[in-house]
């Protein structure tokens, strides 16, 4: 299985497993919270239950917000592009011969060179007139092959799903890291598809022609400073065959593992299903047993919450 597919599969598996654990925890807590609402807080357990419920509501809202934002941004983008749709130029038609993309290519009038694959069930490829005029037949074909990979794998749909989980499962930060890895791997896999069919030079040449000029970099735009950019990683792969491995940050792994472990312990003691816990004294007598796992969950939640806020604050700061 290609690395991009594997990355997506791992992401989904982890997301489903985490969701199942967190949902189970939520269900065991609901009766407690009902009690809390009607009778007020009786002990620490009730307060912890209420806090966890708040975290869960945050997670669900973040996931839904991510979903809504993506659908809205996609709709806005498509609407703005459809208004500028032109008939597909013959250069594109001839580059697309034999690629099985009939009727699924849109060309829009725009002075920025871009191409992408969009829409969910039956994805389409969109190219701008600036891109078409800048590239020759072989380069256009390489771009179309690249986009065909995204189209065949329904990458826009996968992206929506992956981003939904990454936002909603903020207490499991590994999901967010897997999203970043998947996003890089899908571009590399799409490049590889183009290289496999038509060789490396056409794709490299297309990529080179579309790079903004180096002198632009000093314009004071926000440029990520750490590590390789997606394009640099793609170039490494094209030029030297260098593959980027999945490197999860130990903090994320620890927080994610802690949160899931904490949730699992809480389910066990709250549900009272485990024989091991029956012998223990009543919960409020051993708050450590409850607060330990709960604090693992809260630590992950705080880290995840800050992480979610970062892009938002950056966006606000970047505004004039």
């Amino acid at each position: 299985m290609a690395r991009a597919n594997r990355a997506f599969a791992v992401l989904l598996a982890l997301a489903f497993a985490s969701s199942a654990i967190l949902l189970a925890l939520l269900l065991t807590l609901v009766p407690r919270v009902e009690q809390l609402l009607t009778q007020g807080a009786a002990d620490t357990t009730d307060l912890v239950a209420a806090l966890i419920l708040v975290l869960a509501i945050c997670g669900i809202s973040l996931g839904l917000a991510a979903l809504f934002r993506q659908l809205l941004a996609t709709a806005v983008l498509i609407r703005s592009l459809v208004a500028r749709k032109v008939s597909v130029p013959s250069a594109v038609l001839s580059a697309a011969v034999g690629l099985d993309l009939d009727g699924r290519i849109d060309v829009v009038a725009d002075d920025r060179p871009f191409s992408f694959c969009y829409w969910f069930v039956r994805p389409r490829v969109c190219l701008s007139t600036a891109l078409v005029s800048r590239l020759d037949h072989d380069e256009l074909r390489a771009v179309l092959l690249h986009e065909r990979y995204h189209l065949r794998h329904r990458d826009p749909l996968r992206l929506v799903v992956a981003r939904y989980f990454a936002a909603g499962l903020y207490v499991v930060p590994v999901v967010d890291e897997l999203l970043g890895f998947y996003m890089l791997q899908k571009e590399i896999a799409a490049d590889e598809e183009a290289v496999r069919v038509d060789g490396v030079a056409s794709l490299a040449s297309a990529l080179y022609k579309l790079l903004p000029d180096a002198d632009d970099v000093s314009l004071g735009l926000l440029v990520p400073v750490s590590s390789l950019s997606v394009t640099e990683a793609r170039i490494d792969r094209l030029v030297a065959g260098r593959q980027i491995g999945l490197a999860l940050s130990p903090v994320s792994v620890a927080l994610s593992g802690g949160a899931l472990l904490g949730a699992a312990v809480l389910i066990a003691i709250q549900g009272g299903a485990s024989v091991a816990f029956e012998a223990l004294p009543r919960l409020y007598a051993v708050p450590g047993l409850l607060l330990g796992p709960a604090s693992l969950l809260f630590a992950a939640a705080i880290d995840g919450g800050l992480h979610q806020l970062r892009p938002l604050s950056q966006r606000l700061l970047a505004r004039p």
Binding site: F114, G199, S202, P212, D216, T231, E232, I235, V239
Partner: protein
């Protein structure tokens, strides 16, 4: 430099307005027509259509100078300004910036792009890509 916003992106006909404020665009417009001018010249020029304080126009022109869109030389007590780029050059530069901004602007949109994040490529990667891109290497392998 200002980030382009969605509403502006829908009007592709005047690329320079995406990055320049309306008054900045107007001043650039006059300077492209006159080739060089002092602040006073522009104030007088603009006075035909609208009333603007000298200091307002001066602020705009200093800002354009700081953005490296205007060059200036001292002429006695005052500065003579010239456009640093032609209209076409500015448009090309802006469209490159916008191509980079596209992904940032529509970052939330669900799309998989060949042109994702094309902004940040260092010189060594650029050179390596160029070597691989040589046309005589073309062909299936």
């Amino acid at each position: 430099m200002r980030r382009p916003d969605l509403r502006r992106l829908r009007r592709p006909e005047r690329a320079e307005e995406k990055f320049l404020g309306p008054l900045e665009a107007e001043v650039m417009d006059r300077l492209w027509k006159r080739r060089s001018a002092t602040v006073r010249d522009i104030v007088d020029d603009l006075a035909r259509s609208r009333e603007l304080a000298y200091t307002t126009v001066m602020t705009i022109m200093v800002r354009l100078h700081e953005k490296e869109l205007l060059e200036r030389t001292r002429e006695g007590k005052t500065y003579l300004y010239r456009p640093a780029l032609t209209r076409q050059e500015l448009r090309e530069r802006l469209s490159r910036d916008l191509a980079r901004g596209l992904v940032a602007d529509f970052g939330d949109a669900a799309l998989a792009a060949f042109t994702a994040e094309l902004g940040t490529v260092d010189a060594s990667h650029r050179a390596a890509l160029r070597r691989v891109a040589q046309k005589d290497n073309r062909g299936p392998r």
